[in-house]
């Protein structure tokens, strides 16, 4: 099975092995023909109408705004319906530094997202704490509190980089099983078990 993104060649992407592995996992359990086709249809729809919950705290968010403006125009990909309520969004796009005071808010918003849900960490700060990693009150990467699906490095990432990251998320979604064996949920619960609310230290 090939994971296609319109106008993009396979070689244009890095991390193809990761997607290959996901495909393998998908095939290993033996896809039912009818359900498999339905899955593909639904995933095609899901991947092309990804609605973000914009969680922009600082500079990276401005670059995300450029994505929404005319020059980069994210409507081409179906990302344009930026939501402000987690209930209506498919994924949370963390752009910017997350500090101690913000951490519980972010976690709460993530929990409020409806399944299936994804997380993108855009920018150095969201990936690892960026330039502020050593600060007394900065979270060294959102993956300390959320299961991250795609990391987009950069300070800030260029709009093109953001698109690349978003397309990677599309690819990931396309090889997921929507019916039946969806095991994402368990993975999230596993993550939460490992990262409980009252964490004492990292």
């Amino acid at each position: 099975m090939d994971v296609k993104i319109k106008s993009m060649k396979r070689e244009d992407f890095k991390d193809n092995e990761y997607i290959d592995k996901l495909v393998e996992e998908l095939n290993a359990t033996g896809a039912n023909v009818v359900v498999g086709k339905l899955d593909q249809l639904i995933n095609w729809g899901r991947a092309n109408s990804l609605w973000p919950l914009c969680f922009g705290t600082s500079c990276c968010a401005i670059e995300f705004m450029c994505l929404g403006a005319a020059r980069y125009d994210m409507a081409r990909f179906g990302f344009e319906v930026a939501r402000n309520s987690p209930r209506q969004a498919d994924y949370i796009m963390v752009q910017g530094t997350i500090v101690h005071r913000m951490a519980p808010v972010l976690r709460r918003l993530y929990e409020q997202l409806a399944e299936p849900k994804y997380v993108i960490a855009a920018g150095g700060c969201a990936v690892s704490g960026g330039p502020f990693k050593n600060s007394y009150c900065v979270l060294p990467g959102v993956d300390k509190i959320l299961p991250v699906d795609v990391y987009i490095p950069g300070c800030p990432p260029r709009p093109e980089a953001m698109f690349y990251g978003l397309m990677q998320l599309q690819r990931k979604i396309k090889v997921q099983r929507f019916f039946g064996g969806a095991n994402r949920k368990e993975k999230i619960q596993e993550f939460f078990a490992q990262h409980p609310e009252e964490k004492d230290k990292y």
Partner: protein, 541 residues
Amino acid sequence: MSDIKERIRKICPSAVFEDGEILFVEVSEPEWYGFAKALRDDLKFDLLSAVVGMDWKDSLGVVYYLTSTSRNWEMIVVKVAVADRENPMIHSVSDLWHVANFQEREVFDFYGIKFINHPDMRRFFLRNDWVGYPLRKDYDANPEINPIRLTDEINEDDSVSYVEDKDGKVKAVKKNVFEKEDYVVNIGPQHPSTHGVMRFRAAVDGETVKKVDVVSGYIHRGIEKLSEGMTYPQILHFTDRMDYMSAHQNRHCLCMCIEKALGLEVPRRAQVIRVMMDELMRISSHLLSFGCTAMDLGATTAFFYGFREREMVLDIFEKTCGARMSMNYNVIGGVIADLHPDFQKDVKALIEIMPSRLKEYHKVFTGNVIAQNRMRNVGMLSKEDAVNYAITGPSGRGSNWSCDCRKKHPYSIYAELDFNEVLEDGCDSFARYMVRMREIEESCKILAQLVDQIPDGPIRAQVPKLIKLPEGRWYQQVEASRGVFGVYIESDGQKNPYRVHFQSPCFNLVGVMDLTCQGYMIADLITIGAALDFVIPDIDR
């Protein structure tokens, strides 16, 4: 200056003077409040420019920078220190200069200095269950003490005030942030129209705002503390990430402050480039502000228009600096790279196109009846309040207060340039908005003067490999996109600063939210915020 010195001696005989670029006075704590009052009323220091908390190891204290707007923007520095580390207390001056209200809360948050008679002594940036005061030199940064807590913070509805009675005894008095029967609406921290992660708690009566409580710190990154552990070239990049819409100006300011301390002469070419970049940045910032204000009012088209021209500026930046944002262009002694060959051509194209584009903006948004109704006579801020709250930049000038740092304390080559300070006398949101639009024209004018006059020569002065500042303190101000931005550096002769403080204009802007929103509709809170145009990471730092 000597005249002032004499007069100060008369008011406060025990004051200790120190010579420096600005007159420096040290007064003892018990005399401080009376002295401050005299400074404001008799010596006409009506503007509190900066409040810097300090830890000198043997004492804690505050350094105040005061400006007299009526006397040619003359400045004075006052130092107040207390030796008690357990329970340090200094008299508050928030009733004299209202801007001190939030500033003192910041100092309390960082250093644990309690301000006597301050109406509302709560933490400002950090969680209210935070242990310790992070900017103290003996702060224990062990993550076990302050782990990343994922439990929600309890809303603080009580506050405390340390009130002094007639005999000079200080008593902690419990205060309520809101009254008991107030209906409080929470806005933020994750709200699309607060332009970042700011949180407001608004007490409303029907739809009318009674009080706005600002809860800040959702993007407090601890830049000032981080800076203390870094060398001077290393701290430069933080300035690009505070107010990212004033990246060039902020960095220019920090560089100038360090250059001043080093006694470094910046080559003419670098100065011209810096000023041009500053003005381009101002244009891009005002365009973004235009787009966002419009979008907050539902005018999505205007947003696209604003961003269209902003991309032109970003292209210019990208070609020369290598990045669209976080340019990291100014360095100590000059700029990091020479101009791109297309620079002049691109700038000319921008200045040529801007007048017609501005006309377009006015057509699509400014004249619109909704925009007019939502902005005119909303969020009134008188000139006196603007001075008292130290609201500089376009917002201050919208209250007809002439406060442009490029005119008042001309730096770099601004003194030679021909441009007007834009003033509007509406005192409302619309006036602030109009100042921004007209400032774009002025910035274009500056660019037009310089674009063909970029001299040849080096882009950087020779700087020592290891930059060490001599002992002392320096303060430098520039006119950033949103107002006067200040950098305070105190050095003990090491390669890293002893203390760096960034005095951000947005910090003061948010301090005036309560005042400007009172009596207006809750929906106006968004427009007022948009017209004040604060950038949150600049507030929180």
